[in-house]
């Protein structure tokens, strides 16, 4: 696209932030938005006014992200808030999530769509149990880039030793969790050191500022495997003369690529056909790749419905009724062992029974717990389920879309838990 002679393509980076109540997470985001000139005048007026009303001495940038009345009153973040900003090189979506233990589920939520996780650490306190928890959750959700921001450096007198000590401990954690890409930055969110501008208080640090890092870091967009996956959402059957025989399968490509003429297998029927066309509004494509929302038409009239998956013959997913997965429990009501839930894997739904709880994870020391297998809100556990209908899926590490599922409680219809298939 070219306008006024200048052309540029921006990519999108989704990241999540984790840190406990006082680590200064909201302040960091506020600072990022403020220094990158993404806070508008009327929002700023609002923050100045609210800061005054709450009797604060300085302007409190965290007020920008704490949206709900209760959050502002109690000075905490109780739910995932999404923020948007862009720089000339990239567009960012931030999932700002609360860090206290009772909100592990919110962190899991924020992490589920993120490419990168930012973990805040209070320089005075160093690496705590929660740092372990946050890093573990990020890797559990398959986030491959972690940025550790060692915050409140101003309160340590900008001490290099302090930073290096924390970095050393973190490096051990990174190794233990098998994290591929980790970064460490000493910052002061309150005063802006190394957030957008390099800090003059820490001349000993010569690495990237936080903003520069997230602007330039290379993210593997399609980390999902190259096996072609097309979960069917709805069937498109026009009620018009012109398209009398049209039968399209709408969906979003969840992995790999599809081309016109490709031979495909439809699951669960295992019927074979060829791709006849790949359509969008009055447009036809030669191919569609992961992420594209399109409609496919096939050469043969076969019975296909919502929840079916179109794949390629040589790249079949796993299948079965007996599935082992890692779950994060979201609901106040504990897991009912032997209980029935609705389970939803991409667009496919069926019921399931919890067959067994294999172990619970102590996310503060990463040890498996087998003596207490009661699963309550915010617990992470390895479980096995038995589904009423045979499912077709991949492991979560291989494909985040076909490898993830949610549990819905019959009656209340609440999403009570989520799962990542092993």
């Amino acid at each position: 696209m070219k306008i006024n002679g200048e052309s540029k393509y921006k990519s999108l980076l989704r990241f999540t932030t984790a840190g406990s109540v006082d680590d200064g997470k909201s302040t960091l985001i506020g600072r990022l938005l403020y220094d990158s000139k993404s806070i508008f005048e009327d929002q700023m007026d609002h923050i100045v006014e609210s800061s005054k009303r709450l009797g604060k001495k300085d302007i409190d940038l965290s007020l920008l992200t704490d949206g709900l009345r209760a959050e502002r009153e109690q000075g905490i973040t109780i739910d995932v808030a999404y923020r948007y900003f862009s720089t000339p090189t990239r567009k960012f979506i931030i999932a700002d999530t609360p860090g206290h233990i009772q909100y592990t589920r919110n962190m899991v939520t924020g992490a589920s769509t993120a490419d990168l996780a930012v973990i805040l650490i209070d320089a005075r306190k160093g690496v705590l149990e929660q740092t372990m928890r946050h890093s573990y959750i990020a890797t559990l959700l398959d986030i491959r880039h972690l940025v550790f921001c060692i915050n409140k450096m101003d309160m340590t007198g900008y001490s290099e030793d302090c930073f290096l000590n924390i970095k050393k401990t973190l490096a051990g954690l990174v190794k233990k969790l098998n994290i591929e890409d980790a970064h460490y930055i000493p910052i002061s969110a309150k005063y802006g050191d190394n957030v957008v501008e390099p800090s003059t208080n820490m001349p000993w640090y010569t690495g990237n500022t936080f903003l520069h890092l997230i602007e330039t870091i290379e993210i593997k967009k399609n980390k999902n495997s190259s096996d072609a996956r097309f979960p069917v959402q709805t069937i498109i059957r026009p009620d018009s003369k012109e398209f009398h025989d049209y039968r399209g399968y709408s969906g979003r490509v969840a992995g790999g690529a599809f081309h016109i003429g490709d031979e495909v297998t439809v699951l669960p029927s295992f019927l074979k056909s060829k791709i006849k066309s790949i359509d969008s509004l009055e447009k036809q494509f030669k191919s569609a790749t992961a992420g594209d929302s399109v409609s496919l038409t096939l050469e043969d009239q076969i019975d296909i419905g919502r929840g079916d998956m179109i794949v390629k013959p040589g790249e079949l997913p796993q299948s079965g009724n007996d599935i082992t997965l890692t779950t994060c429990w979201f609901n106040e009501k504990p897991l009912k062992s032997g209980g029935r839930y609705i389970v939803r894997n991409y667009t496919n739904e069926t019921s399931c029974v919890i067959k067994s709880v294999n172990y619970k994870m102590n996310i503060n020391n990463l040890e498996k717990v087998t003596d207490d297998l009661s699963i309550n809100m915010n617990d992470i556990a390895n479980i096995s389920i038995l589904t009423a209908k045979r499912l077709f899926f991949d492991s979560y590490r291989k494909n985040n879309i076909t490898g993830s599922l949610i549990f819905i409680e019959e009656g209340t219809n609440e999403t009570v838990a989520v799962g990542m298939i092993e």
């Binding site: 589920s112 769509t113 959402q233 498109i236 879309i401």
Partner: protein, 300 residues
């Protein structure tokens, strides 16, 4: 001037995916249509999501009666062109039936009243999903909103007890009498919307482009003047070149002084602006949690 194609395409793919999830999971479906650019973009996305079939939605307008004339014609023409049902419900009817008491005085607006009319229509027509053009960048209560937002049988939103929403799995299960509000363009910003309109060449009401209009200033915001509006003695009506940045109820929609008469000029203007689009929305300035409170009661 920057056009970020790659990013816009990803947002479009996401919104179309959401539209199709709505089609698959609900029965009686409406798109909340105000005649504003966000709802026009929604209609375009719905067209794209279901082509060559007709979109499985009706358009529903909750009409405060305080409209810019041009938007009503635009609304009627669009529904006719698409061949979809247009449902119009009047806030005035709810007022006449005594279901809401209209605010009075200079600062009176019909925003709160709109929720009553909307919830009545949802109940009467057994609507189980209303798709809206709300975006998380618009306002801080909206920043916490889900794509699929559950409403109880009273149509209320409980921000502290929202359903978790992970990956792209949307749980639309509900009990009888409950409904959902769905926001396919949650992740779009104002600039994204304008860039998309430009890339897709989507037709908009002329109000979005520069035109001569009688306006006046109130609390730092320029408002369009209409004959039924009450003015304070200090407020003077004058005529100048303006365009609308948002289009809603005329009594609380601010206008921008602008000479932009093409989409390219508008995108450039929006990219450089230092005030949010709701900065001109008088309805949000009423209290710290104005939007949160309205949403809990059933507002969009």
């Amino acid at each position: 001037m920057i056009i970020n194609d790659e990013h816009i395409k990803e947002l479009e793919d996401e919104a179309i995916y959401v539209m199709r999830e709505v089609a698959a999971q609900f029965e009686k479906k409406v798109i909340l249509f105000s005649g504003g650019k966000d709802s026009i973009v929604l209609v375009h996305l719905a067209k794209k999501a279901f082509w060559p079939a007709k979109m499985p939605f009706s358009l529903m307008h909750i009409d405060t009666g305080h409209n810019f004339e041009e938007t009503l014609k635009f609304r009627d023409d669009l529904a006719a062109e698409l061949g979809v049902e247009l449902i119009v419900r009047l806030v005035q009817d709810s007022i006449d039936q005594g279901k809401v008491i209209e605010e009075t005085g200079i600062n009176a607006i019909r925003n709160k009243a709109q929720s009553v009319t909307l919830l009545d229509a949802i109940e009467e027509l057994k609507i189980d999903v209303a798709v809206g053009g709300g975006r998380r960048d618009e306002e801080k209560a909206r920043a916490k909103e889900r794509f699929f937002s559950h409403r109880n049988e009273f149509g209320q939103w409980d921000p502290k007890n929202q359903r978790p929403e992970l990956w792209n799995i949307f749980n639309g299960h509900k009990n009888f009498g409950e409904h959902f509000r769905v926001f396919p363009i949650s992740n779009w910003t104002e600039l994204d919307v304008w860039q998309y309109i430009m890339l897709e060449k989507i037709k908009l009401p002329e109000l979005y482009y520069t035109h001569r209009r009688k306006i006046f200033q109130r609390n730092g915001v320029y408002l369009a003047w209409a004959p039924f509006m009450l003015l304070k003695p200090s407020e003077k009506v004058f005529e100048t070149d303006v365009r609308c940045r948002t289009i809603g109820d005329i009594t609380c929609t601010g206008v921008t002084l602008s000479k932009a008469d093409s989409l390219e000029e508008i995108v450039t203007e929006i990219a450089a602006t230092r005030v949010t689009e709701r900065g001109g929305r008088y309805d949000d300035k009423r209290s710290e949690a104005a939007m949160e409170d309205r949403k809990k009661e059933g507002y969009f």
